[in-house]
Symmetry: none
Subunit: 210 residues, 4 copies
């Protein structure tokens, strides 16, 4: 015997966890985090009340697991973009954003929950989210200053304001196309639009001689 039994048990545990997570996702989506009770979760999962506590210590632990899952997915997607390859920063940005949009779109229910409910929750949830935000902000700042060095970016920018604008643009595009709507969309095309908007704004390309 030896490991066989342990392994099988571990696998069973993982499956149970998944089962609870999946059904919880549906309930959260349906009723909203705060209106959902442990009773709702165990009922949806089809397990006994006690069993739930064998796998999660609280409702917010379930949510935290979901959040980690989504953040993991996004990080995985983003890290797939090779930063050393021979494409312009602009193109890199488009690719990153497109991948993010695709990933979130592939996990729409989860994304919805997180975007709609991950507010005013646990302290830990807030922390993890703002850490993520911070990473993005840092990356944007870095990219902006890099662009400045290459004169690809204006010098008179207030990077605090501009990075906020950039983040907000991305966040709202996610809200509009992934969270609020249910339609499929062309992630690449949208990503390109966003990046182009960020680079040159809405004004027409200034024509020489104007």
């Amino acid at each position: 015997m030896g490991d066989g039994r342990t392994e099988r048990a571990a696998k069973a545990r993982t499956q149970r966890r998944r089962q609870i997570l999946d059904s919880s996702l549906r309930v959260f989506a349906d009723k909203g985090y705060w209106r959902t009770s442990i009773s709702d979760l165990v009922q949806a999962a089809g397990v006994a009340r006690g069993t739930f506590y064998l796998y999660f210590e609280s409702k917010s632990a379930v949510f935290l697991d979901m959040l980690d899952e989504l953040l993991g997915c996004v990080e995985g997607a983003v890290s797939g973009v090779d930063p050393t390859q021979e494409i312009s920063i602009q193109e890199q940005l488009v690719q990153i954003l497109a991948r993010v949009l695709e990933t979130l779109s592939d996990n729409r229910p989860l994304t919805r929950i997180i975007f709609r409910e991950a507010v005013g929750l646990d302290h830990e949830v807030e922390q993890r989210l703002s850490r993520f935000d911070e990473q993005i902000r840092t990356y944007l700042m870095h990219t902006l200053s890099l662009g400045e060095q290459f004169s690809a970016v204006r010098q008179d920018l207030d990077t605090q304001v501009v990075s906020a604008c950039l983040m907000g643009a991305v966040r709202e595009v996610i809200q509009a196309f992934v969270v609020r709507s249910d339609d499929r969309f062309d992630a690449h095309s949208i990503a390109r639009q966003v990046v182009e908007f960020s680079l040159v704004g809405v004004a027409p390309k200034s024509q020489p001689g104007t």
Copy 2:
């Protein structure tokens, strides 16, 4: 007797309402909407349980009142901008945004509550917020198409994407400067930055001859 008594009573009622609203605001800010109980509210207001229900029919009614108050302030501030064509659209946008930022900054605690908690609440709250969003979106769309007519705006824009970017930019700037931070700021300068970013992006002004 006449109205004297009635008037005084009405005034007292208004004051009580305000007293409850103000203390509730502090509690919501402190504990978060969902973790706040009616008990917390009455305790903070220093009134009896029953008194609370004389003025509000539920916790969410209190929140709704706050929301209406903030939306009213913002609408008032915005409507003060001179719509006559004495100033450019760009300058109008800057002024509107600056006023919004100022108003929200003047009501920081209230703004924080709304931005942090008005998500996944009541159906009515969601409705009122999305109605407000819709108004802004409509205004932006209108302005964009106006700009297109005057060739002040590129013709190849996906207005859905771009209006999302614009709204997101504004929303995030509010988050960054009003909600998350506690510092004073120069609303006009920030507004100008945002509008400029929206118009010409982060790229350096293309030089004639490049």
Copy 3:
């Protein structure tokens, strides 16, 4: 001046009382005694909460007043039957019962309230009702024994059982024709039927020679 003011005041008091009693009757009929709150009563009466307490010390005091009113009406009606006149006891019973039915029918809303709700109420209500019951029971017993003396009544009756049967018959007839139904009815005819039933039952008049 002197009495004029006092009198007028007394009259005003009586009117207020009546106003409250009348509207309370409607509310009791509508919601049932136990589901009616003082708030309901003052709202229906169109007076302030405090005013109610100037006239009645509690909800059950209102009910007690109504009960007394109905009992008074019934007693008045019954006492109108001259017991010394030259009609048979049987005819007297018919007249009494007919008058009771008529009186209750004339006060249907009030009767309904009393019959439907005067159960499990105040101790005082119970007392007053059972005192009334007792009076009727005594009267029946008296009449039965009188009848026995005149050989108008069987000698082998268990007066306890029979008086219960008689009272029950009357009570249920009231329930059926006054309380449950809304139709007009011929009180005299019904009274006659009840008395006849009481005297000779449902069996056919035994024919001589059977």
Copy 4:
């Protein structure tokens, strides 16, 4: 494992139910339905507030259960009477009534509650009671018309009035001997008296030749 555990659990559940029902009966008897609070019930049952709601969804659900229990008992008792025509209808009536009286007497506390409090309660309670009433009324009507065919019943009866009298007689006898009094009684003898009264009234058997 198998069913052993499930079975035992089911039995425990039934016992708990009974425990709550029994103690609730005592409390209702003591304080009256409307003056009884859930707190009173749980205190009397010696269980936690939450436990009560595991077994009954409201106070009125408890009452409804009691009502069903009593109606069930009565129906069971009545259905035990031999409907074959070996005995006269008169004797059948006596037996049925005697059994009803015995059954109610065997469940005096329950009977008291139902008779004293089942008025102006739930809509559902009213419904169930009037359904029961209707069954009895129908049975009486049927028996009367049957009697008419056999000339055992007068032809000039107003069946509406007479059936009301009969029902009332029975109801009041129950009130007098089971509900109001605490004494034992001879159900058969009382039943016979009631039936005899119903058949021939209080008048002396008319003597041939009078």
